[in-house]
């Protein structure tokens, strides 16, 4: 998952980015200017937009309006220093999904970010299951029939992304775009290596579900129907 933070307070943006990387296991890009931030959203790599309300060049409300006008349905979480009711109502009506009033709690911010991403992917519960495979997005753990599978952070993120869309083909490019931020140097064979490791770990755990490679098109999480 990849999140874009648009916040002009550079140190705060850096703090949030660090917290999200560590606490939510997501890739994070930062922008310190409204106009630049809006330009970044156009690529639609992001699974969540996190914006400050007061921004130089273009304020948060205008960004929300423009993103929604484009038909982009990426979840938006707004940080506001002013808890004026009318402003919040305007924001939500303009298409923002949630807001947090400064000063906020980083733990709460992480929880909200996770919940919004999950909802954005169409899952209401933090527990995802595909076949015998179950994933707890809060604890960031994966179990196979109750038994814990030990995954590296990147493997976990690949599996998480695929589990939100079971049986759908996800291209390597999409995985790259959604799992890595601009600070990473990404090469497509990095993904291949991680997917290969993931497969191995699932197999070792005795999991029937596996990540299939669809030649030339991408990956797919395939699981046999659970036996009744």
């Amino acid at each position: 998952m990849r999140v874009l933070i648009i916040e002009d307070e550079i140190r705060l943006a850096a703090n949030i980015a660090a917290a999200l990387r560590q606490g939510a296991g997501v890739a994070v890009d930062c922008s310190h200017n409204g106009r630049e931030g809006l330009a970044l959203t156009e690529a639609e790599h992001y699974d969540l937009l996190l914006l400050d309300l007061m921004l130089p060049a273009l304020d948060g409300l205008s960004i929300v309006r423009r993103v929604r006008a484009r038909g982009d349905r990426t979840p938006i979480l707004v940080l506001t220093a002013r808890d004026e009711r009318s402003q919040v109502v305007t924001l939500l009506n303009a298409g923002a999904d949630d807001y947090l009033t400064k000063p906020f709690d980083l733990g709460e911010l992480i929880a909200r970010v996770k919940a919004l991403i999950r909802r954005g992917k169409g899952a209401a519960d933090s527990l995802l299951t595909v076949g015998r495979l179950s994933m707890n997005a809060v604890e960031q753990t994966v179990r196979c029939g109750g038994q814990l599978i030990d995954l590296s952070p990147t493997e976990y993120r690949i599996l998480e992304y695929l589990m939100f869309r079971p049986r759908a083909i996800v291209s390597k490019r999409e995985l790259l775009e959604h799992l890595y931020d601009y600070t990473w140097e990404h090469h497509s064979n990095v993904i291949e290596a991680h997917v290969s490791n993931l497969r191995k770990r699932l197999r070792t755990a005795g999991e029937e579900a596996t990540v299939e490679t669809v030649r030339g098109r991408g990956y797919r999480l395939e699981a046999p129907e659970p036996k009744l």
Partner: protein, 463 residues
């Protein structure tokens, strides 16, 4: 409490009362006169009746006498009929008639007043001629003197009656006037009440001051409405400015607190090694310093604005600028910026020493911060026509024209992200402006995009 309505009513009633009193006195005097004339006519009438009762006495001397059998006169009246020689031909049965004796000789014809015991009489002395035995050789003419008096009680009573009527009418009129006036004033003063009501509706949450049509059309209220409008407009502006400042200050402080909180929470999110903790604490210290600076500046601004105009000290601005430039040189050097000072000799201005320090340091720091590496910041100080002029010139990017009118506003930043990177609070220039204006000076800015910015401060010099 004093009431205008009550005063007006009392004033009108007093005027009316004095009018009524004057009128009553005149009316009573006139009434008295009229009544007295009527009384006199009545007296003459009764005397004539008495003359009619003078009859032939049927005695050998062919005398006359008063035949009272046909006479109908009030019993209280007194009269006397005398012969020209003074012989009493007849008199009333009223005991007071005795008082008339002797009057015939002393009094001339006409009216006069006498007092018998406690009774006042008005008396008429007149002469009449009675012709008797008209059938015999033309009759005999018998002149008589009539003295007729009637008590004046009735006259007094009538006048008192009339006076009472006037007084009662006046009192009634006063009461009616008072009531009508109270009612009318109540109606006429309604615009005043409406104005008070519309004024009472004004509050900090609703500045709308809408006097009613009635109040607007009242000429006497127009100056009040006008001054109220001006007062409200001024108050509103001051209040809005204050509210904006409070809002902005809260925003800045919240942002600082948010930053501190997130830094702390991030530091405690997982196990860290000593170096990480050290780096985190270093960042926190910087954040706290920034917050400290922000608080200090807000307090400085509040202090300067609150103190108002105060008898200031005399400060040598030249010395302040020179020593400041010396102190800032290492800091400017770190940015590869040089500071050039053109300020020879003393330049005495009337500012508090601490304020002069803050003013010059804010301007110089700003200039240094906005200067690219290798640039020069120039400060010049001249004195002319009782004004000291300090120019601080940088070779930075300049300020966009649209931002120029706002740069002295609190928390205004031409580019928030850049200022935040450089650690600005957005209060420096606002503080400068407050200091300069407090000393009756001016501060102005000129800027050319890409070439630099000129800040020009003018302060009255002390001779």
């Amino acid at each position: 409490m004093r009431s205008l309505t009550r005063r007006l009513i009392v004033g009108v009633l007093l005027a009316e009362l004095s009018c009524a009193a004057g009128f009553a006195v005149v009316a009573i005097v006139h009434e008295m006169h009229v009544r007295r004339r009527a009384f006199d006519i009545m007296l003459r009438g009764r005397a004539d009746s008495l003359l009619g009762a003078v009859q032939d006495a049927d005695d050998p001397e062919a005398n006359v006498t008063v035949d009272r059998s046909e006479l109908v006169l009030p019993a209280e009246d007194i009269y006397e009929v005398l012969s020209p020689t003074g012989r009493v031909l007849g008199e009333s049965e009223n005991g007071d008639a005795r008082a008339l004796r002797g009057l015939a000789a002393s009094q001339k014809a006409g009216y006069f007043e006498i007092r018998v015991g406690r009774v006042h009489y008005r008396v008429l002395r007149t002469q009449g001629v009675r012709v008797i035995d008209r059938l015999e050789n033309g009759g005999t003419r018998r002149p008589v003197v009539l003295i007729y008096g009637a008590p004046m009680r009735h006259l007094f009573r009538e006048v008192v009656e009339a006076a009472r009527f006037y007084v009662l009418t006046s009192v009634l009129l006063l009461a009616v006037t008072g009531a009508v006036l109270a009612w009318l004033l109540g109606r006429w003063l309604s615009p005043l009440r409406e104005l008070a009501l519309s004024a009472s509706r004004v509050s900090v949450s609703s500045w709308e001051f809408a006097p009613t049509e009635n109040a607007l059309r009242t000429r006497e209220l127009n100056p009040i409405i006008l001054s109220m409008r001006q007062l409200l407009a001024g108050l509103r502006e001051a209040f809005e400015r204050q509210r904006r400042f409070t809002g902005d200050a809260a925003h800045e402080l919240k942002t600082s607190v948010t930053l501190l909180k997130s830094s702390l929470q991030l530091l405690t999110m997982g196990r860290r090694n000593a170096e990480e903790y050290e780096a985190g604490l270093g960042d926190l210290t910087i954040d706290i310093q920034r917050m400290e600076e922000l608080t200090e500046r807000m307090l400085a601004l509040a202090r300067i604005e609150e103190e108002g105009e105060k008898p200031a000290e005399v400060v040598d601005l030249g010395m302040t600028v020179r020593s400041l430039a010396e102190r800032l040189k290492p800091l400017a050097g770190a940015k590869q910026v040089t500071i050039g000072v053109i300020a020879d000799g003393a330049c005495l201005v009337s500012v508090q020493a601490s304020d002069a320090e803050i003013l010059s340091s804010n301007l110089l720091m700003n200039a240094v911060q906005h200067s690219p590496a290798g640039a020069e910041v120039r400060v010049s100080l001249t004195a002319q026509d009782g004004m000291a002029e300090m120019r601080v010139v940088d070779q930075g990017d300049g300020i966009p024209e649209s931002a120029l009118p706002h740069i002295f506003e609190r928390f205004y930043r031409t580019d928030a992200s850049r200022s935040r990177q450089s650690g600005g609070t957005g209060l420096g220039l606002a503080i400068c402006k407050a200091i300069v204006e407090r000393s009756r000076g001016t501060i102005a800015v000129e800027s050319a995009t890409g070439r630099g910015t000129w800040i020009i401060v003018r302060l009255p010099t002390v001779v």
